[in-house]
Symmetry: C2
């Protein structure tokens, strides 16, 4: 990606790529806002045709198109742009895997502002955006999250539901902690017709999960538990408790205490299924999971990208035995399965 | 850099890397603001030692350190961070090649704001930040530029001065158009003791060039020409006219007209030396030069990363003959030499 000369000698190339990296974010955001990828899929490949279809300028679309080509999102043939297979699948609005909506969360104010004030967060050791960052009660961010992240969570949710059907086919009661969009519990309810799902989250977020349960046709087996996961009472006989993208927001003592509550709410033989960004023990690989720690620093008071040994210790501390970690295909997260 | 599974199949990895790319910019900016690289160079390798030296939190510096390691700026040995050779050379304050100051320009308001409003720029076909973007008369941006970009321009300035000394040793009068920091003219004055340099720029910017000429000890051969390059009168007998990072800001008709003025101000046999971001004719390679077009879209009304054939045509249109392009080692720019 660099054109700096003297590849054997020192080079400021990485410095410049990194300082200018914010431009990549802006370019992709603009392309999605202008629906450039769908336009190309429809055959509007030239800057002129794109300008007309996307209500932009020919000059602007040529420059954006070239930049996106360099960035790997398009191919260029003469003066015409064409989609890569990944752009066609993930970035055209008619694709079922369209990722456009996740921008609403991934470039939302708390995230962008958190990184704007990253130096302050490094100094303090936690977010400096509000007292609790995105963890403030009923933060509207989580409604955005619930509405926008479904396309991304579909794959891991299917993987987890398949695992439950295969390994714990007798599952009847599922608790979906901080359910958000509700997708994880809903997938299980769809795969196991006898299973009932309780979705716990803030009341404002649960409206989204409820809509999704209606769409999925599982309303009769869908229950709501509104409130904070730390405050509301859990029933005592769950077969499966789902902790998806939840524990990373909190410090270790908070996780320890919460996992004791989870332990007390599971049937003997029941499972906790944890979906998380879990880097290797070196904390610097794999890249996408290791880098997640900085999002926690910028946007939460004390969250982290915990490594497996840390999660394992938290679960044991709460009374569980062995935990097992598995990669989730086509995802940048991992699953920990912990049996009571 | 990706950990997404099924490398043969479709992957949203590039999408996520790109949407999150703004975090890379923020992390490097914070590391420079906190002087993390100098601290490591001094032997403060652990998060604890870094926290003390950089007046931050241990947690924050561990997370930032891991992120920078993933990003290629550090190595990690156990819990200690070490510098890469490039980080040591370009990112420690005691290094003569320290690049920290260029952040003031590269992350200045007009640039960051321009990219925040990139969608508007694609629609309009030019910047939507103010009427003229960074080209407004006496825009303070150019003082920032002049003060911050010297470390970056030192290499190309030396290359150009060496070329002039070898190929045009009889050079006596040099005009440095939009001189900024003045480094390009000053280097020639230092390498050719008989050469006099006239630095043209806005009066507020020329104060920076004047300071640099004093530091270089060439004040007696340093003249100032305050005002817009388009409006002020040029003398008629220059041996060399320097057009460094200037033409890319303007549209072709403006460049055409300006180059006629340049042609009229050169002695027969004199040279125009143009330093620019010049992608190949495909406009999508090399990456760093091709991507420059988007900066012009976001921050200027009509600038561009022109390809060589466009520059060649502009020069011929102004009365020049053949132009020759050369790569500048260890730079992401190229030089065009045009003889009158």
């Amino acid at each position: 990606m660099t054109t700096m000369k003297s590849p054997e000698g020192p080079s400021p190339a990485l410095f410049f790529q990194t300082i200018n990296a914010h431009m990549r974010t802006a370019a992709l955001k603009s392309a999605i806002e202008l629906d450039v990828f769908s336009a190309i899929a429809e055959g509007h490949g030239s800057p002129q045709a794109l300008a007309q279809r996307c209500k932009g300028s020919e000059r602007g679309l040529r420059m954006l198109g070239d930049y996106l080509t360099v960035g790997g999102f398009l191919n260029k043939h003469g003066d015409e742009y064409r989609l890569t297979p990944d752009s066609e699948l993930f970035l055209t609005t008619t694709s079922p895997a369209y990722l456009g909506p996740v921008l609403d969360f991934m470039l939302s104010y708390p995230l962008v502002e958190g990184f704007k004030q990253l130096t302050g967060a490094v100094r303090k050791g936690g977010t400096v955006v509000g007292d609790e960052g995105t963890l403030a009660p009923e933060h509207p961010e989580w409604v955005t999250f619930a509405r926008s992240m479904v396309p991304l969570m579909k794959g891991p949710a299917e993987w987890i539901a398949n695992w439950v059907r295969q390994e714990a086919p007798g599952t009847r009661k599922v608790l979906d902690v901080a359910a958000g969009h509700g997708t994880f519990g809903i997938e299980i309810a769809q795969k196991i017709p006898e299973a009932e799902v309780t979705a716990q989250d803030w009341p404002n977020v649960l409206t989204v999960a409820r809509e999704n349960a209606q769409t999925a046709g599982i309303t009769k087996r869908f229950y709501e538990l509104p409130g904070s996961a730390f405050d509301v009472e859990f029933e005592k006989d769950y077969d499966v408790i789902l902790l998806t993208n939840f524990l990373h927001h909190f410090d270790v003592p908070t996780c320890d205490t919460f996992l004791k509550k989870v332990h007390g709410s599971l049937k003997p033989g029941g499972y906790v299924i944890t979906l998380e960004f879990i880097p290797n023990e070196d904390r610097i690989s794999p890249a996408s999971m290791a880098e997640f720690c900085l999002i926690m620093l910028a946007t939460t008071p004390a969250g982290d990208a915990y490594v497996f040994s840390e999660y394992d210790r938290m679960f044991r501390h709460a009374g569980f035995g062995e935990s097992l970690m598995q990669d989730v295909p086509a995802s940048n997260e991992r699953v920990i399965i912990t049996k009571k």
